[in-house]
């Protein structure tokens, strides 16, 4: 009931845009290859679901690549955050390097990664995705590990708690909401990384390749359908993290019930 009321406006606006789009295309007689109508995109999606451009199997491969990149980037980002928070002296060495990695233009890096890890290997796409994922996860987790109420640290100190107890009981739980915020941003980035990697070549059964080959065959309805599929995949990843939040941090203001987000 609550959820219905909450998402009703978004649903109505979304439907309204689709209807307006459909009407506009039909009334104005815009060519299909300039702007296909939503109905045409839907038809192309159904037609090419498993046959033809095989969008569904392609989406599965792309999802696999981006989740692999998400996992690698997250592990590296979280590890870096732990090292920097445990050894504050390493901060001035590690952070500039991380910022440099973050500043790499992904368009320039993608062909290099394809070259290093094999253009047909999913590893190359994961590497590109991981590069994008690394920074937001690292910087958010680091903030969560270090931004702690002084009284909480004093409390643990009054218990003469050791470093590992402080990490387990205070720093990790404190960092969780920050980490999950970083992870949310990272889901979308991992998908962008995978698709950009595919753009520069790779297995044809991937969403990035479907977009490229459909566009060069002037099948823009299929291109749109593939883009739609990328968005849906991104939303699925995002919702997985939201589910994780409900599970892991039910006490956090962003999750708990009584304040409408």
């Amino acid at each position: 009931m609550d959820a219905l009321r909450r998402y009703l406006p978004a649903t109505l606006i979304g439907l309204g845009v689709l209807v307006a789009w459909e009407v506009l295309v039909r009334v104005s007689g815009v060519q299909g290859f300039v702007l296909p109508a939503p109905s045409a995109i839907w038809a192309a999606l159904v037609e090419n679901w498993t046959d033809g451009y095989a969008i569904f199997p392609a989406a599965r491969v792309t999802l696999y690549e981006s989740m692999g990149g998400l996992a690698i980037g997250t592990v590296l980002g979280v590890s870096t955050a732990f090292i920097v928070s445990r050894f504050p002296a390493s901060r001035d060495t590690v952070l500039p390097l991380a910022i440099a990695i973050n500043a790499i233009p992904i368009i320039a890096f993608a062909p290099l990664a394809n070259n290093w890890f094999g253009i047909l290997s999913p590893i190359s796409k994961m590497a590109i995705a991981a590069t994008l994922v690394y920074f937001p996860v690292m910087i958010n987790t680091l903030r969560g590990l270090t931004q702690i109420e002084p009284a909480a640290h004093e409390l643990m100190r009054s218990y003469a708690a050791g470093a590992s107890a402080i990490t387990r009981q205070l720093e990790i739980p404190n960092a969780l909401p920050y980490f999950l915020t970083g992870l949310k941003v990272a889901t979308t980035l991992s998908l962008i990384g995978a698709v950009v990697g595919e753009y520069f070549g790779g297995l044809s059964a991937t969403l990035g390749r479907v977009v490229v080959s459909a566009a060069s065959a002037l099948r823009f309805d299929v291109t749109w359908a593939a883009i739609l599929m990328v968005s849906v995949t991104g939303i699925v990843l995002y919702l997985m993290v939201v589910g994780l939040e409900r599970l892991l941090i039910p006490w956090h203001p962003s999750v708990r019930g009584e304040t409408p987000a």
Binding site: L155, Y159, Q169, P173
Partner: protein, 284 residues
Amino acid sequence: MTDSAGTEPVVQLAGISKEFAATGSSKAKPTLALSDITLDIRSGEFVSLIGPSGCGKSTLLRLIGDLTHPTSGSVQINGKPAGQGRLDRDYGMVFQSPALFDWRKVEENVRLPLEVFGFDRASQAKRSGEMLDLVGLTDFAGHYPYQLSGGMQQRVAIARALAFSPSLLLMDEPFGALDEMTRERMNSELLSIWARTGITVVFVTHSIPEAVFLSTRVAIMSARPGRITRVVDVNLPQPRGLTTRESSGYFSLITEVREALRAGEGDEAQIASAERTAAEGTVG
């Protein structure tokens, strides 16, 4: 004073000064928060620290807990340096803010020290249950801190500080956020815990009636730099209760503490005026 002579003080403060280094602009002067504090607190005493805001009460409590170090002087807990007292987990601290962990339910917050100290699960549950009962929050054991009022959160913090039965309890304005009725009830609760367990309490407060009602001694502090200007013995009979609050001895002690506080202020005013005269003297 004489009745407990011979027993070793639980807290021994000798000639303590605490200076906070200046930060920021180069013109900023270091803050002398505490100056020449000397005080012995014996086993089973209930000592209140009272004084104007910023006079260093919290700082003094943190010095006793070895959460900060004196610039000069020494702090001894049960005859050991304060650092050893902390390592031996001789005291429980109730901070000015409840400092509960948001991610732990009420019961889990109370068992935090027990987990850190490695109590087994069964005694953790037993102790935390008893403590919640003591502060009247059994029904809220499964709630998160955000679901409690400020006063309830502070009671959780008290339960947590008592959970491992320390011999010394350091409390920093624990009832500052409570309404008058709840505060009086918590005062009585605290006194009965104190009487039952024989725990030594150092209690910071802004409330003169609270200090008098609870304490065996009230240490009065002056504004910056914080000094103990007087220690008032509170010889009201135990156990204390409603009749205490209505006794003439209680009222005359309140007056005595109030006047001592005002005299401390007077000190400060005299010093300020002396400084002004001195400054004028150099100009003229």
